[in-house]
Structure formats: C-alpha cells, structure tokens
C-alpha cells in the first residue's frame, strides 16, 4: 500500500523531470531537474530494497555527476545564447519517433510472463561485497584502472591553456 504510493510518487517525479527538461530552455533549470530525477531514481532503489545502490547513486550521481554537470553549465553558459525553439514539424516528428519506440518497448514488456517473477528479500551489503570480490573481481580491478585513466585524461583535456602567439597549442 505504502509501496504503491511511493512508487507512483517517484515515477511521477521522474516523468515530470524528463518532460520539464524537454520543454525548458534554461540550461541551469535543466540541470536541477536532472537532480530531481536522480533523487527519484535513488528513492526507487530504496523502495526496491537495494539500499547500498541507492546510497551509491546519491553519493556518485547526485554528489558527483550532477555537480560536474552544474559546473559545466556555469562555465559554458556565459553568453546564454537563445535556444532556437524547435519548429512545429520537428516537434511532431519527435513525438512520432519516440511514441513508436515507446509503444514497441511497452508491448514487448507486457507481452510475456517474465521468468522467476518472485520477490526476494533485500540483500545485505555483505553479499554485494562478496560478489564484488568473488564473481566480479575482474571488472572491479578494470574499473579502478579505468577510473585512473579517466582522471588523467579529463585533467589533461581540460587543462588551462595559456594564450600564446599562435605557435603551439
């Protein structure tokens, strides 16, 4: 009962955020609607009993990626050029394409019984830890190497450039 209410509240927040981003023209507001969506997804993770995932979602996505996006917005929106509003036929085309895609996905989802549709009890953090260091040890180590590469790459790509006289970039 309470689960139903919470599910619909979080679903409503997600869908409204998406529609608001589609309609909006102000990039800062789009960034904050994104934060609303990320928090609603974290709420659904808590509802599904995946507490560790929900917490990681908030720490990494809301506290990391969203802050990055907001920084990017504030560093690149100095001129705040007017967003050209899409013309009428472009909107119709968008609705048709996405509508067909959505209809296809939903039909496929509703089509058959999904195997093993039985609710399990929420798993503990210890099981996730054992899985990370057990079955998923390869991806775990690779992810840490990937993060190191990303750290170096992003720092190099975004380095400050001293304006020279056109000799070297």
């Amino acid at each position: 009962m309470i689960e139903t209410i919470l599910f619909y509240i979080f679903a409503m927040i997600m869908v409204v955020s998406g529609l608001a981003i589609l309609v909006s023209t102000n990039i800062v507001r789009m960034a904050y609607w994104l934060i609303g969506m990320l928090l609603a997804v974290a709420g659904i993770y808590f509802l599904l009993g995946a507490y560790f995932l929900g917490v990681v979602q908030i720490i990494v996505y809301v506290g990391g990626v969203a802050v990055l996006v907001v920084f990017g917005v504030m560093l690149t929106s100095r001129q705040l050029a007017s967003q050209l509003l899409p013309r009428a036929w472009e909107v119709v085309w968008l609705i048709c394409v996405t509508g067909i895609f959505l209809a296809g996905l939903v039909r496929m989802i509703l089509k058959g019984p999904w195997a093993g549709n039985v609710k399990q009890s929420p798993q503990t953090v210890a099981e996730i830890g054992r899985s990370l260091l057990g079955n998923f040890i390869g991806p775990f180590e690779l992810a840490s190497v990937l993060l190191l590469v990303v750290l170096l790459g992003a720092a190099y790509l975004a380095r400050p450039r001293v304006p020279t006289l056109g000799i070297k970039k």
Binding site: I35, V55, V62, G63, M74
Partner: protein
C-alpha cells in the same frame, strides 16, 4: 535598561481588540515569564523527553506505526532545532570569550541564553527580499536543497542502542550521501543570486566540499574495516565496555584517522580555517549574501545541523557513541549528546583561533597532505588487522593512556582559564554588564 517606549500605533476594529488583549496579557504574563523562563524552558524540554520515553515504553505496541513515526520525527526535528539554537548561542559566547569580550549577556538573564530565540524571531519578521534580476524559482529553492538533506541525515543516527529512527545496513554511507547533497544547494544559492561575489563563494565552496569528501570517506573506511560493518548501530555496539574499547584507541591508524576525519569534516561544514565560502572579511557573506530573513535562517540552520551531524558521526565511529567511559550503567543518549556537543564546541574553538586559509592552500592541503595521509592510514590499518592484532593489549594501553593525558591537559587548561577568568576576559567588560 528596563522599559522600551513603543511608538504609538492606532488600530481599529478587530485589530484594536486583539491589540488590547495582547497588551493586557503581556502586562500580566511578562514578569512571571521573566522569573520562570528558565523553569518553563527546561520544563518543556524535560516534559518532551519524558513524553517521548513514555510513549516509547508504554504506548509503543498499541498504536499504529504511523503515529510512532510522527512522534519520533517531531522529536527529531525538535532536537535538530534545539541543537542549532544552542550552537548559535554557543558560537557567540565562545567567540566572545576567546576575543576577550563577553558575547550576549542580556536576553533571558544568565549569559543571554535566549539570544538565539530572539534572533530567530527577528529573522522571521524581516522583509522577504529577492533581487529583481535573480532567478526566482531557483533562488527560492536553494535553501531547501541545503537544509533538507542535513535533517534527513538524522534519520539513521543512533542516539542510543535502540534510540534510532531507522536502523539500516548502510547508515554511515547514508549520512555521507546526505551531507554531499548540500553542495548543490550552495552552488544554486550562489548562482541564483545573480551576483558575482556570491558566485565566487559558491564555486570555491563546491571545489572545497567535493574535494574534502574523499579524505572524509577514506578515513571513515578505517573504522569500518575494524568493525566489519557500515551500520552505525553495530559500530556503537562494538565499543561498549569502557573507554579503552573505543575504536579510537585500538590501533595507531585509527587514532590518526579520527583527526583526519575531524579536519576533513571541518572543511565539509565550511568552518574555519576552511570558511572561504562565507569569508566574512572578503565576500560579505559569500554565497548567502543576498539571502535575508527566513531563507538565511535555513542556511544557518543547515550549517549548525551539519556540524552536529558530523560530530555525531565522529563520536559514534571513533569515540564510542552512546557508551559511557566507565562501564555500561549510564550509557545512553545523554553521553552521546554530551560527546557530540563537546566536538561541536571544539569546532567553534578552532574557528576562532586559526586564521582562514586561501583557496589554493585549501586544495593543496587536501590533495597533497590529507589525501596521501589517509591512504597510508587505510593501507596501514588493513596490514595491522592482518598481522598485528597480537599487539592489541599494548596499543590499547598506550593509546588509552595518551587519550587520558589529552583529557587531563584539556581539563588543566580549562581550570587555568576559569581561575584566571577575570584577567583573561577583562575586568572592565565584566564589571559594567549585568549577569556577569
């Protein structure tokens, strides 16, 4: 300084009746309240605690869970507000005494202890000013993004072995997550004010907060490894029995982890020496320059609530939480609140002693000194747990003794300050004000 002549305002109709009734009530109740304010205030608090305890003890199985939850949530909100108010008053007294003056002395009689209430009333009746060129919805939204996550962090903080609203497997990470959402509120406050100086404060603060989350998380991983659980209740329960069982004294790496966590949490709460975001002598008030009235109160509340939340985490994880230092008879919420408020007081002490450091020095301190040090602590602690646990008796003895020595030094310093308080604070200030 006894009576204050109010300028005459003429009311008509209903307002006149209300005004007359109010004047009569104030005339009758004023002197009584002034005498009994102390008793009333503490009576309400004690009654509230007794009520909550009685509900928990006797009514608990009888009412639906929603009623219990509402009562606990109301109690929690009340506690957070109380902590913020005591924090604000304490800040002004501590800053005053460190600066050889006295701080608030009048409101309420003894050392101005009702000053926060008066400040709150003042803020609430202020004009709600929003800059015309500010982004209106975002400007209104920012204080909520700063305040609400910090209050949500209190959902999982245990005040006692069973005094927790919701005990979850991942409560420590949940508190870290909630404290990390505050960054967005601050950036939004700076941006939506549409003022260059607010934006500078907001950007510097975001860099600082996000960078210092890393040493904070790493130094919290060290006790998680020692206990083997991320749940705050488990960490508190693992430290029962006496002060030598506290996690801070188990392991030299844990000893230093406490201090690195404390320093990182100072930066995370935007407290000096890391308080560039609200640099009072530089940016007027940083990211909350344009906020006045109740919106400013929300930012302020968020800061003091976050101060107590990080101190609460430090006490549960390193200092034994609700366990008393001398055995388990008196363990409970009182010890927890006492230890938490002590750490908050130390935060204020540090703020008014150390000078502010520049933003590039802040980032250097994080990346060049604090982060490598916490990594060494993390690796050292894992090696210690694998190979060194036979030294546990000696380390507890030595580190526990070190802890006792620190407490002794602190008490000696406090005693010296108390004995010489006339000379240190200044006789002139003390002589001419009431309530000294």
């Amino acid at each position: 300084m006894q009576t204050f002549e109010r300028p005459k305002i003429e009311y008509t109709g209903i307002s006149k009746t209300i005004a007359e009734i109010a004047v009569v009530v104030a005339k009758i109740a004023g002197p009584i309240l002034r005498r009994l304010a102390w008793f009333v205030f503490f009576g309400v608090i004690i009654f509230g605690c007794a009520f909550v305890w009685a509900v928990g003890r006797f009514v608990n199985p009888l009412v639906p869970w929603i009623v219990r939850d509402i009562i606990v949530v109301a109690g929690g909100l009340g506690f957070v507000s109380l902590v913020a108010m005591v924090g604000i008053w304490g800040e002004r007294k501590v800053s005053g005494h460190i600066q050889s003056r006295l701080g608030p002395m009048r409101t309420g009689g003894w050392h101005g202890w009702l000053q926060s209430l008066a400040d709150g009333l003042k803020f609430v009746q202020k004009e709600d000013l929003i800059p015309a060129s500010a982004d209106q919805p975002l400007f209104r939204l920012a204080p909520y993004i700063a305040l609400v996550p910090v209050i949500c962090a209190y959902v999982v903080i245990p005040f006692g072995a069973s005094w927790v609203f919701r005990d979850r497997d991942v409560s420590l990470l949940f508190v870290l997550a909630m404290l990390g959402i505050e960054v967005l509120g601050v950036i939004l406050g700076g941006w939506a004010s549409n003022s260059k100086w607010s934006l500078y404060g907001a950007m510097r603060e975001a860099c600082q907060l996000v960078s210092y989350e890393i040493p904070m998380g790493l130094s919290l991983l060290v006790p998680v490894m020692a206990v083997g659980s991320i749940s705050l209740v488990q960490m508190g329960k693992a430290q029962s029995g006496g002060w030598f069982n506290w996690l801070m004294f188990q392991n030299p790496f844990l000893f230093f982890a406490f201090f690195t966590y404390y320093i990182a949490s100072l930066a995370s709460c935007k407290r000096a020496p890391f308080d560039l975001p609200e640099g009072e002598s530089e940016l007027v008030a940083g990211f909350h320059t344009e906020y006045s009235g109740f919106r400013f109160v929300m930012f302020f509340f968020a800061e003091y609530a976050a101060m107590f939340a990080v101190s609460a985490i430090a006490t549960i994880v390193f200092l034994g939480g609700w366990n008393s230092p001398v055995g388990d008879a008196t363990s409970g919420p009182l010890w927890f609140v006492a230890k938490g408020m002590f750490l908050v007081w130390v935060q204020m002490w540090i703020r008014w002693t150390l000078p502010r450091i520049r933003i590039d020095q802040v980032m250097h301190a994080c990346v060049k000194y604090l982060l490598p040090f916490t990594m060494i602590l993390f690796v050292g602690s894992s090696v210690w747990q694998l190979y060194g646990s036979q030294f546990i008796f000696y380390t507890r003895f030595i580190l526990g003794g070190l802890g006792l020595v620190m407490v002794g030094l602190f008490l000696a310093g406090a005693g010296y300050g108390y004995v010489n308080r006339g000379r240190l604070v200044g006789r002139l200030a003390r002589k001419h004000l009431p309530g000294a």
